[in-house]
Point group: C2
Chain length 363, copies 2
């Protein structure tokens, strides 16, 4: 099923709505079958949940984003598009959209992420470059974050065979400036990807989302050099949560940049000295990603009773609770509870979390 232009527009508008995060985005699509219908229902739904003012971004802003993308030669892929990457669709929740510059088809090939320290040793960069070259020659696309150090070396090694750079800012935000040449070559030979709007500068709060895309696109994440508290270890943790393999390149205890990978090894990461370690791990039988769950909203009437919504609201606490537990406690069908939670979330009274969890809204 190919999405219509109007539906793609609606998905972008829904995704750009301040209060709608990726969990809510996915549930709205499940509840209303399409973004167009979700947008139409939103004012009523929010009012029922106990709030006013539908907080949708104006149509003009969405049109401007699409035009800016077109001018930059970028392509938008929304969740549900035929070329939305399968690996990313299996992530809970999937990113609602991706802007891409270059060859978006690379994301459909088997991807491995290579990430690590910005201030990397010469040896670490040599390892990242060599391993990425090997991975490319073995048919893998190398995904990284275009940062200085390990990321840059990984992209460089995989440039001839295929590499994907995921940015925190817009796909036209060239950062860091030292990597401008590399950026240009990836845009030409590889693929630049971002969830952010065109023209957005990368900010600290963008990196967790970027890291989720890096690991989400990839079957495994290789950490080359990293300090103990670093973005690379966060990417590794996300990869583990997403059911992806986590690899760590060991290093001497004399080098503080080995602490990150060595700690990952202590926690059960797969030791990686070369592409053979990656191939061995990938050849073991496992199910990848979560099977698509049934739509919990099936058969739920469009309009919920206000008393049901208040009953669900009363049970919420700051501790995330599975929605089926709430359903059992209230003796209600899970679909009814899920729909009530969605309305409470849109009204700013609840917070939907991955894995079918919900909590009361944080003040």
């Amino acid at each position: 099923m190919t999405l219509s232009a109007a539906e793609r527009f609606a998905r972008l508008r829904l995704a750009r709505t301040e209060q709608i995060g990726p969990v809510t985005f996915r549930q709205l699509l499940e509840r209303f079958d399409s973004a167009e219908r979700a947008l139409a229902a939103l004012p009523d739904v929010i009012r029922r949940g106990g709030a006013h003012e539908p907080p949708l971004p104006p149509v003009e802003r969405i049109e401007a984003e699409l035009e800016a993308g077109e001018r930059a030669g970028a392509r938008l892929i929304v969740f549900g598009d035929d070329d939305y990457p399968d690996m990313l669709a299996a992530v809970d929740p999937p990113p609602p959209l991706l802007w891409t510059l270059g060859d978006a088809g690379l994301m459909a090939r088997p991807c491995v992420a290579v990430v690590g320290a910005r201030i990397a040793s010469a040896g670490g960069q040599r390892i990242a470059r060599g391993m990425s070259q090997q991975l490319g020659e073995a048919g893998h696309v190398v995904v990284s974050g275009l940062a200085r150090g390990i990321d840059g070396a990984a992209h460089t090694g995989a440039l001839p065979t295929g590499t994907v750079a995921v940015l925190g800012g817009g796909v036209d935000d060239i950062y860091p400036p030292d990597n401008a040449d590399l950026y240009a070559r990836i845009a030409e030979q590889g693929c630049i990807v971002s969830e952010s709007v065109m023209g957005a500068r990368a900010q600290a709060r963008d990196f967790p989302r970027r890291n989720r895309v890096i690991s989400g696109l990839s079957r495994g994440v290789i950490v080359v050099e990293a300090e103990l508290r670093s973005g690379s270890l966060i990417t590794a943790r996300l990869a583990g949560e997403q059911g992806r393999d986590v690899f760590a390149v060991p290093g001497s205890p004399l080098d503080p940049r080995s602490r990150g990978p060595n700690e990952l090894l202590r926690q059960g990461a797969i030791l990686c000295e070369g592409v053979e370690d990656v191939e061995r791990a990938f050849s073991t039988l496992r199910t990848l990603g979560e099977p698509p769950t049934d739509n919990p909203f099936e058969g739920v009437p469009d309009a919920l009773e206000a008393t049901v919504i208040e009953q669900v609201a009363a049970l919420l606490s700051p501790t995330p609770t599975p929605r089926d537990e709430l359903a059992r406690a209230l003796g209600l069908p899970i679909g009814t509870v899920a729909a009530a939670l969605l309305e409470l979330d849109l009204a700013g009274r609840a917070e939907l979390l991955p894995g079918g969890l919900a909590a009361s809204a944080t003040a």
Copy 2:
């Protein structure tokens, strides 16, 4: 129970008998309760097993070994002596004897082995020295093999707190010559240990036995730098078989000396960057070593029937077989089968192996 001088003499003589390896040595003590009685029974036993000529070394040679030890200021510890190390007694089979020079009491303290490459990097030697110093300050005695490189650095780091050097040759065999100073300081402040006779030069075939003592004395073995096919990896494997913790210090894939420890990590060794990793592993609850097994020979008559011995011999193959399996197949008590196997072993027709296994003698 303290052993008499005559019994200690008999144990040394038994241990120095060409055909009697450590498995047979231990079983003879179990079968005859003492080495003196085993020596007295040996001619009959060997004849019943189907061979001639008791191959015992002459009494004079044993006297000469004891005198040489005394001249060198060395002390003999035989299996069963009060100061025979408990950790070593739990090994299957335990080494029948140890010659020691220096403070043999160190072996009764908690020991950790630190081993690795002879041709070690400066960084590797720094790690070995620093880690051994830390281990010593935390109350551990550091055991190693007095080789060049990692071994020497390990002894040096632990010299002020206590270190044990296990040699392939006799305790008076100073090898390698570059470590002569270190040898002298260990003999004075630490302990030199060997299974070999005084004056024996270390030969290649002595090292597996030496490595078994290094790991056998220790609760854990730390491998610092090692090539893939190296004595250090053999020591690590022995340590694993002996139920001891195997630690590996990770290193960069760019250094071939990291291959050994990195491969150990792949196989499940504990990652070790410092003494905290050792302490953490040691603090987990586990049973150490094998519980002393019941004496299988209890109640078995001194003289076995020749037909029983031949029945057991007929069932043996080059594939090691558990003696209780042989007992079941023949419908005989396990003690009878164990005694028959012991006689066949002494006659050179069977080979006793650790873990109660036996095979036909290799041609």
